[in-house]
Symmetry: C4
Amino acid sequence: MIDVQGKLARIVYESEKLVSNLEKLIRGCQILSIPIIWAEQNPEGLGSTIPELEKLLTGQKPIEKYSFNAFENESFKNAIIDSGRKQWLICGIEAHICVCQTAMGLLSNNFEIEIVADCVSSRSKDSIELALQKLQTKGAHLTNIEMCLYELVKDSRKETFKKILTLIK
Amino acid sequence: MIDVQGKLARIVYESEKLVSNLEKLIRGCQILSIPIIWAEQNPEGLGSTIPELEKLLTGQKPIEKYSFNAFENESFKNAIIDSGRKQWLICGIEAHICVCQTAMGLLSNNFEIEIVADCVSSRSKDSIELALQKLQTKGAHLTNIEMCLYELVKDSRKETFKKILTLIK
Amino acid sequence: MIDVQGKLARIVYESEKLVSNLEKLIRGCQILSIPIIWAEQNPEGLGSTIPELEKLLTGQKPIEKYSFNAFENESFKNAIIDSGRKQWLICGIEAHICVCQTAMGLLSNNFEIEIVADCVSSRSKDSIELALQKLQTKGAHLTNIEMCLYELVKDSRKETFKKILTLIK
Amino acid sequence: MIDVQGKLARIVYESEKLVSNLEKLIRGCQILSIPIIWAEQNPEGLGSTIPELEKLLTGQKPIEKYSFNAFENESFKNAIIDSGRKQWLICGIEAHICVCQTAMGLLSNNFEIEIVADCVSSRSKDSIELALQKLQTKGAHLTNIEMCLYELVKDSRKETFKKILTLIK
């Protein structure tokens, strides 16, 4: 999760929907025991992660970064590598800056990336669409909350499926 | 044909058009003697396939499944393999969940897939569009009823062409 | 040029614009001495090519065909091969049937194809867009009248450029 | 920067926004010491580069060309090669003619190209969109002013970042 901080988080395109979707995505990943790596760009300047999301991430701390591409940050890079996972979902803001650069950083290091399209935003809608288009031509795939959570659950008989269903409805 | 069942079939985006198109596609495949594999997700929970379509599929039974990716289901997988066919048209609901996961399951097993774009739907239009975009970047191609039926007929002098023409008009 | 015939040519999406654009494209190719191959699908049934275009193609006869993919027709195939050209512009109707199948026929025989997007149409706008999307994932590129004519002329100092400019303006 | 000249620069789609964006892009490149190659198509016929942009390019002269593909012009080609750079941003007009042909010229000579989508235009919106679509299928990527400048700056602690931020806001 990239940089959902301060004022910026309130002024991006469809920000209320974004925040509500991010809450669902965080809870969904927690239900499925999927690790979350949480980045903040220059928190002193831009403010902390918004409280709605911060309160869901109990027991975790954000990784402070200054490079737009989070993968250029040693702590973020180590968190990714130490997780042992090669596939990552990316969400946050802004789609065309930190989300895009981090996604490209991961792609060029041979990670498989899906951008959660209803969990990213930028100040302008045009920038979001352009970022999603660019990332697809760079090798990323698109998904959305439902698409990725159902794909991770796989089977409707699983215990976790009921929880995911309650979360989404 | 994936999971065109119960209430869900009535509340997806442009559901009346979807049902009418699915009727045409089923009839078209029957005219051209193309085998249809028919799946139902958790029929006890979600209801049976809607009667408009069920009545066209005489002499056939749906394959009951619980994995969203139908290809994870042994009976479905065997039906695909036993048919001997390497190319499949996919239709049904929801585009971004069971249709998408089944298509990706087939693609990663080296089947050639076309998604019949006017014969798939989801509750939201955004989810449909995202699913079609994702599937194209995964190697699926798009088609629609007319496009695929004319491609299968190939020649306007064929006996079957008149029937297809009557069906579509 | 694929099947711009009879009533169908009058009822496709934005048919007046299509006809006017096709006139320009034919004249442009004639100015640049680019050979035109002209197909008609089942002319007895669907009618002849519309007079606006037929009168421009003096000294040429249409190739009568019954397969939607014109490249399945021996005369059409020979005309393509005898021309010695490996790159073709495709225009005509319907984008999602004969245009699409012919383009795929040429692509799978290693021809390079550009679809002249403002010189193709279908009865529905959705079918046009789907066909253009599908053809791009199959390896075709898109162009339009101005884009392809300027690309063929290459240099504004050429004699032919003035004629092309007059034609387009 | 391709051919932002005379009357044409005033009549392309959203021309005021284009000019304002081009001013930002030029200034951004100057802040980041990125060389700018500046082309003019047949300046006697089409007029000079518009004064808003010309005045920013002090100490530089435009390269006069007559081929729509600027890379066919010896001076332009040498300027590109002498710069030693393999990656280029392309901006200017018209998206579907000189921008498109120059981009394809660079791509087929193994340069990496990004089209600055909010810094290109054509007389019609359709032509812009078609050009961007075609260039992506030819191997170009899309970007916009913010996306490319932030990608070039990389880190918010850099001296140049404040200047870029002032420029964009």
